[in-house]
Symmetry: D2
Subunit: 362 residues, 4 copies
């Protein structure tokens, strides 16, 4: 009953096997190997666009390098107030960006409404020398709430940003989960919507540790190789990073794994709803957020379930947390089994039932 | 009719004279001169506390150095969302602080309510390694809205911060204006309320360019001299910085100048209210914020008045800006003359009157 | 004939197997797993000292984080002018260290002579506010020249640094190679000699990508977890980093692998010397530096050999490079086979012979 | 007898008077005033070239902003190992430059020989991703040794830099001293020689605190206004900075003041030579470097003379410091009087004479 995070899962077997295969013989380091070259071509094919790819071991590195590269130190990156890079990366974008500023925007379900972005950009003051310059918009797809920007929503946000000469970054730590839910081609979910730079994640999807910064205009990537190196993110045995991503992309493995994770989230949400615990946000990727009573929370943990409590200002209007309740995040992954879901919901059902019975028959 | 800023005024005559007097002969540079030594003792006397003083030419430098010194790069500085260092210093705190993060809190009249700070500090998540650490609270006294924290308000905020092991910084670019309004001794308005580090401003008050970072626990100042130097803020002919501050503090000049500026703001607010333009926030320092119709705004500018439009989310509930209106900031200074105020209000009165008449007799 | 770098080798089989074993089931991320806990205890045992360990994926990250942590932004790190972190990390220490300064010292065979350090520390000026403060000494063991500091040499350098209140860092990307050559226990080669912080490398020794910053005074490690996170170097599936290091340390694997690499270097050096190409520096780890004629260089590359040319000012007095010659670096690893060495030297021998013959019989 | 530094002098009377004149009435802050606009045009006239000017209060700020602007964080700035920005600014260039690297080159009399630059640029390795990129050359004119690059020397160095796509910066804290000695027009000493960015100093020349970064290609200045602001170097009462520089440039005041300072250095050097103390470097600006016996040094200080000891590796071959000797720097300024020089040399003469007599008649 492991729902703490998709990174609590291990390595997908096909990716582990690819690491083993890549271990054959010698290869030049730092990306000068054959697997890396092959992967770079493969990424361009899959995204149907020329691109510059920079492989790194963590999503935090991918996000921080991407933003530092498209925003000057006096630039502002507009993002949702609860997105990962604003709240969970210990200031990595500010560090890599030489002190750039994140401007946190509010919005239900961890999504930035177009009207909110528009208002923020219209509001005085923006621009030098006194004020930071609006330089980039960063969106997360799927969001921290496990929700999705519809293509039209993302396109509109990107248009607003581009009209202000800003660039558009997407944190795609769970990009595959979004893709399979929306049934879009990678191109249709990225540069065709106006995305300039994508943090393309594989770790949560099943890799050991492999992410890529994809820059859809390679000319814009000048200097990014140096940033990666001095950030300590250019792996010497780079072939093993490339091998992970290559396996992830082979035979649509990434999509298959993401479909499974999403399906497990759907199952979990459905079962919980049937047990009286409805998801607080639409379940559009591999995350389910619900409220539990403190008592139920205790019982679940006693039963061995693992998951995290969650703090948010992003709930739908009208949804509130009782003093006896805790909001929790349940994350599924490629490794979640239906049995785990059922076992978890059994505990919920058993306990909720007895509590309701108790309430009903005082 | 110069109400654009208190820095549109020049140098107070006594301060200019002091620069001239300090120009006698040779003196060692970089603060090794007699005036600097004398000033350092004087500051300690005036604040009734041992302190380490670091003179710099701008308020931005003072704020940025102070915050960089009391918050680590992975630290967060909680401050009002509209304070100067969050909005008007082009990211200086983030730059000097190695990528530290400002956490912007909302509050009416540019003041942080204790309940808001308390809620922010209670909310998950704070602290490493994933989240930035709450390291400092920065308050502005007087605020950007020309309002003041009452002593009890500031004490309570400082207590909340200290309880969380945070330090308390005050941006005192208009510290004198606050002091004379509240009729407090410098000590009673700073360290006695829990202030650890003060950006002590003199430029807006009448100096050419002179501010000081005052650290009330000198042991905590280790390394700040190096920060100042590598920030390019250690003046070689340092005696002239010290001479400005010495003159500013001599014979209560600073208080006299601030009292005048405040009185001019009071006069302006009273006259404008009588003309039908009430101040939007209490006038507690040397700033008056009012709404003008676009038409009146145009007339005033044609008449030669200078002032800035203002954008804010910090208005009292219920106060809103009509589509025909502009919110403006009017700042008085030691150099503002009553005639300027009267001349300005004359234009307002004349025009408002005719407009009202026009409305009345269509 | 792969002598380009020890990172051109892949993963040692036992380490790859450990990654596979660690892939069993779910585990909390970010170092909260059982393998990490176990490894931390194991490192303390092996080094016979309490320590704080921070695992990261690259040596550049380990060095940059270590130095940023022990030197303030206005600090200087004294190091050899040709050490990796001064020349091959694209400014990573300066970036992580908020603009700290590396002071490059010269010395034969990439070693800093004690007299050179002593002279540098005695020379004016050091210290604030005008001058950077001597904060750390960074030594590389084994050095970039494949040479070693004798224990007494390192102890003496550390004493000089400590006498100046500096801390001592060792870049141990090839620490194991040094250890087995000197036949020292890890403690005897590190904290017992005065080393405060060690970049403990495993990647060059046989891991996929695993290094550790070891801080021998855990109290001094406060904040390093935050630095690692905001540097993007806290891996989510951290157990796989820990598993690599655990396997590396199990049953003395690391020492066995290093012994093999060293032995291959010895063999290579001996064979080359016999062929008339003597090593330019003592072969004390797994690197051999020799001069080749351009012609021989071309032949070797035609025969499929891979290695890098090398630029240095660190040669013994009297050793010079002819205009027809290139200085090259040959690196052996755990994966180098004696056959590779023999094949390589065969080409050298064959060609050198013919050339000499040609020269002899014009 | 004040020879500690040219910044031990005060403000030239005409510049002080200009500050007083600028204090008439109100003016918009931050450079939006009439004096600033006028000065910007005047600078362009004097340099016979369009330019973007950024006024700041210190030379350290000017240098650090200039270099940060023309070198990326992964860039290297090649400079003389004893230049001010490498040794006396506590790492300001590294701080402002996001961790850029200064590459220190040796050379007699604090000048970089063309051959040394050429060799440094030819040497492997330069460029990403592993190595920092050679981005800028920084020269000091006049140098820290009070010597000058001849026009042809500077042109040649600039050509070498430009051929490598580097930009050329000159630290002109004593630019006027060089100009009058070489009898060159400002244009002929700057952009006509290939200088791209000039730190134009006035403080040492007689201002209170006023320097300017001059960028000869204004298009290249984009973003520099933001850098200045977030560095805390945009003065609110900017008109007083501009007024200083305007006065400095009016009626060739700057040249007159510099000529006087140089003449005093010449007189001092001539008198000292006559007394048996020859200058160690050619006296080409306003600095004289000589060796004193410890005894003479003591006597001079007892007599009230002030000056600094100096450490250097930049002496002519063959010149060495005896164990009984101290190398000292004597700096003259616009305020130095011939009487001060004579009084100083009297002490030297008297003491040297008696010492020699003592030696002569034991």
């Amino acid at each position: 009953m492991h729902f703490a995070s998709d990174n609590a899962a291990g390595i997908a077997p096909a990716i582990l096997a690819a690491i083993g295969r890549a271990n054959d013989g010698f290869a030049l380091g730092y990306g000068e190997d054959a697997i890396t070259k092959r992967l770079e071509r493969r990424l361009a094919e899959i995204f149907e666009h020329e691109l510059a790819a920079f492989l790194v071991p963590t999503g935090t590195a991918a996000n921080a390098l991407a933003l530092a590269h498209i925003a000057p130190p006096w630039g502002a990156v507009l993002c949702h107030e609860e997105c990962h890079l604003a709240t969970d990366e210990c200031g990595a974008p500010e560090f890599f960006g030489g002190g750039l500023k994140l401007i946190a925007l509010a919005g239900e379900a961890c999504k930035i409404p177009a009207a909110t972005l528009e208002a923020a950009l219209k509001r005085l003051p923006w621009g030098g020398p006194h004020h930071v310059t609006a330089a980039a918009l960063s969106l997360t797809q799927a969001t921290e709430a496990g929700t999705l920007y519809a293509p039209d929503e993302m396109r509109r946000l990107a248009e607003l940003a581009h009209a202000k000469n800003m660039l558009v970054h997407v944190d795609g730590a769970r990009f595959a989960n979004a893709l399979v839910r929306q049934n879009l081609a990678p191109a249709a979910a990225s540069w065709k919507l106006g995305v300039d730079v994508l943090s393309f994640g594989a770790t949560k999807g099943g890799a050991l540790a492999a992410e890529a910064v994809l820059v859809f205009d390679p000319a814009r990537a000048a200097g990014l190789a140096e940033r990666r190196k001095r950030g300590g993110h250019l792996l010497s045995k780079h072939r093993f990073l490339a091998a992970q991503l290559e396996a992830y992309l082979t035979d649509d493995l990434w999509l298959t794994l993401a479909r499974h994770a999403n399906a497990m989230a759907d199952l979990l949400a459905a079962r919980l709803a049937a047990a009286g615990c409805s998801a607080l946000w639409p379940v559009e990727a591999n995350e389910v957020f619900v409220k539990f009573s403190h008592d139920l929370d205790r019982r679940l943990r006693q039963a061995g379930a693992s998951y995290h409590p969650w703090a948010t200002d992003s709930l739908r209007a009208g949804v509130a947390l009782g003093s006896d309740e805790v909001l929790v995040r349940l994350v599924t992954s490629f490794a979640t089994r239906a049995e785990d879901v059922e076992e978890f919901v059994d505990v919920v059902r058993r306990h909720s039932g007895s509590r309701k019975a108790a309430v009903r028959n005082p």
